[in-house]
Symmetry: C2
Amino acid sequence: MRTLTAADLSLNTATVSKQWSLEECIEGCKRHGIGGISPWRDKLQECGVDRAARLIREAGLGVSGLCRGGWYTAEGALTQKVIDDNKRAVDEAAAIGAETLVMVVGGLPQGSKDLVSAREVVTEGLAKTLDYARTQGVKVGIEPLHPMYAADRACVNTTGQALDICDRLGDGIGVALDVYHIWWDPEIAAQIKRAGKERIHAFHVCDWMNPTQDLLTDRGMMGEGVIDIPTFRQMVEAEGFDGLVEVEIFSAENWWKKPADDVLAAMVKALPAI
Amino acid sequence: MRTLTAADLSLNTATVSKQWSLEECIEGCKRHGIGGISPWRDKLQECGVDRAARLIREAGLGVSGLCRGGWYTAEGALTQKVIDDNKRAVDEAAAIGAETLVMVVGGLPQGSKDLVSAREVVTEGLAKTLDYARTQGVKVGIEPLHPMYAADRACVNTTGQALDICDRLGDGIGVALDVYHIWWDPEIAAQIKRAGKERIHAFHVCDWMNPTQDLLTDRGMMGEGVIDIPTFRQMVEAEGFDGLVEVEIFSAENWWKKPADDVLAAMVKALPAI
């Protein structure tokens, strides 16, 4: 396994979403020696895509991803509006040179209980986005989300399921693996092997608090919780993954309330727990 | 599919755990025409096991399960205390003629991040309980719990994983399937087929609220949420399951606050949603 330094980390802007703009995130990364960034689209658009691309480039930061495309089930059946929004996401990912466009695929359509159909809509949507992404040289990374988000955020809930979709769709699509979403999966070791280097587009870390107070916003800093993060890093690095380790923490009651510089310092301090 | 009536339902005592004793649950089932009961051990012991067995028999109720054995990781490595407690659970299941002893297997030991080892401890514990259960004519039903409980309640989180354990351990052990825990699983249709009639020991229903406010105690009455319950019932009945449909609802802010008779009436009213 690599010996990680701050330069190997990437700041997902969600980690300090309540504190900082994208500009401030870029400056913060420089100050703390953090090597990369992964913007959410709202922060990116706020900053302006071209300006953000320039600022990131000038700061010498890597871009481990753009969060997020997907949400294919937002309007029930796949609509042109949703397809177009994903095209814009591809364009934005290309503009900032993101390693992958991270896909949170969407949950059940409003009023629906049909998870099987939702998954078909998602696959259809991913196929369309992928067609366009290939023309722009952008990779598409499906993020399997924890099963507790199947209804409201993403109906792709295991790495195996995501890779089945990748198998169907071919080149240019892989997975964005977040330890928070995959740590419980009895099949995960085999599925990470199955993914292989080419299809592991991103590796996200945070921690699972025990107990967890909120389904969405009670994630911990690495080392605060119960996930054996080094074992997962070992698994992805055994496949050849050598990209930035992206830190994405949703934490309404703790990390979002602290000064952002303290959060970035804590990320660097948490390196031994990764 | 069967046409369900109240007589096909079983009341898991957790559904009215804040309102009623076991005696009151038995009386309530009779009043509402509900055909079965599934006690939690605390209620059973409060009532007295022999007395409970007599009251249930006299009321003519079926016993769809006893909740719960398991929790093998409670003391880290498997201890005699844990093994003995599970033996007592087997004895209690035998005394009340439960269809199965439902196993909530336990999560990560205190201070541990080693899910793989926890799963080995659980398998070892299940093997010991099963040895004893066979001598008492009691069936052991592993309840795979939703992945969001991997840390604190049960590290068996998919039906496939539970069946892998059953394959290792042989006769007399199967699964207790609760739609709340399994509805998100992309493999569920195949795994229910794989289980087959002999290994489907119990079928539990409630509903997944969207959004969900609490990881443990925000479960809904059938029809209130997003689970396509009839499709799951169809799957288990296609395998030959013809047992009681057990209603188990943890609901701190809603159903636990209502008069228990209203809850039982709502269960019966919810039959079309099952």
